[in-house]
């Protein structure tokens, strides 16, 4: 389990303007990481669903830091996914094709669900490959 003291060091309010939501979110991440380890159960936290004072979300981001892996999706606009310095805690941002930020989430998971190849897409890809071979053989 992630030591909460570590979080607290970076999460102290540094301005008067603070909703008090930062520490609860960090605590939730902490419990969710524990749940992932104990029960193999993932958690998704929607950061758009809670009020943050200007600068507060940036402090959350800075507190979580960046880890070893980043993933970029190019689907209906880009999506940026990276593991924070806490393994299993992923910062996820979905942009639209005008590059506006549409959703900001934290996923506590072994790998964000959306990064995995999706069964339907794998089937469609296989179908396309087979069609290619049929076409190719037909040309011979």
């Amino acid at each position: 389990m992630i030591p909460t003291e570590h979080f607290k060091l970076n999460a102290e309010p540094n301005t008067d303007l603070d909703t008090g939501n930062l520490l609860p979110v960090l605590h939730q991440i902490c419990h969710a990481t524990d749940k992932l380890i104990q029960h193999n159960s993932e958690t998704l936290i929607d950061l758009n669903a809670m009020p943050f004072a200007p600068g507060e979300k940036e402090r959350l981001k800075a507190t979580l830091g960046r880890g070893e892996i980043s993933i970029q999706l190019n689907v209906l606009g880009r999506s940026e996914l990276y593991e924070t310095q806490y393994a299993g805690v992923w910062w996820i941002e979905h942009y639209n094709s005008n590059d506006n930020l549409m959703a900001q989430l934290i996923e506590i998971n072994w790998l964000p669900a959306i990064a995995r190849s999706q069964a339907e897409d794998v089937h469609a890809g296989l179908h396309k490959m087979k069609a290619f071979f049929i076409q190719h053989n037909g040309d011979d």
């Binding site: 909703t19 009020p51 209906l76």
Partner: protein, 372 residues
Amino acid sequence: MTTRIKDLNTAPNNVGKYLSTQGISRRGFLKFCTTMASMMAVSPTLLPQLVEALENAPRPSVIWLSFQECTGCTESLTRAHSPTVEGLIFDAISLDYHHTLQAASGEAAELAREEAMKAHWGKYLLVVDGSIPLGNPGFSTIAGMSNLDMLLEAAKGAAAIIAAGTCAAYGGIPKANPNPTGAVAVQDLIKDKPIINVPGCPPIPVVITGVLAHFLAFGLPELDSLGRPKAFYGQSIHDRCYRRPFYERGQFAETFDDEGAKQGWCLFKLGCKGPSTYNACATTKWNQGTSFPIESGHGCLGCSEPNFWDAGSFYKALSVPTGDLGKIAGYALAAGGIAGAAAGLLAQHKKGQAIKEHKIVTVNDLEKGNSA
């Protein structure tokens, strides 16, 4: 538009299949659903249900009627209608008639409306923006037909009605004193159909798309006493305002340029109607999530409440007590957004209290405001 209706007869009739024929991958669909869940303020734990429900939802025909309005609601809609992930919702529905956005005009446009109504009688979703003038049918007509007649006719075959914008929901600015056209809201005229009010002047673009997505996935949303979906209008601006700590500490800006204003203190004394206004501005924000009025230094005008225009000066402080919310550790994380966070959550009974108080805050209460 008429060709579009013909195309529809051969198009897959559920959302998931239709989007995949449009070249949207499963991963793209998941991104669409995740974005929609965030817009709808649906708990992320419900994401798998949302994916399944949206995938299998039938594509409804949507008929959009614009009456006495300024086109601000349609402007707002088009902000959500750009070819983007959230704009996909407009592929998930079949917008068969919208006289501002459609290419067809005149008789062809009206024919499109009639055809769509006939083809989907009893099943289409009717969206209305603007109020309806009863003073004289000639005050507002479309193709020579009065707004009243068009509404009554279209409502008959609708499965449900969305009143988009404060004008359609509550009469809005056209109804403002002295109401020269005799403007009324949709709910004043239609009593036998479910009506979802999506007020705001204009409504937040993603709230419009979120309500559509909710309708597609789960049917009619749960409504508050004013007919608004609780997912978006369940909490007040004040409940979710980042300036709330200043309110609690009694630190108020007294003028727009004093030290308090510069420090970002609470705008209550400058007339902020956040405590009596229920909308999602404080979390959803405007202009692609840039900010909302209070973040720009101006109090909330209360535009999603009935009769907001006649509620006294925008710059008069409310005199309505907002409840002794006292020493609250944090400020109202949106319902379901972060289940389980121990602190920072506004205690459930306090929220209930705030909602209860909301029901008794009337325009008359607002007018009791003094200039503090």
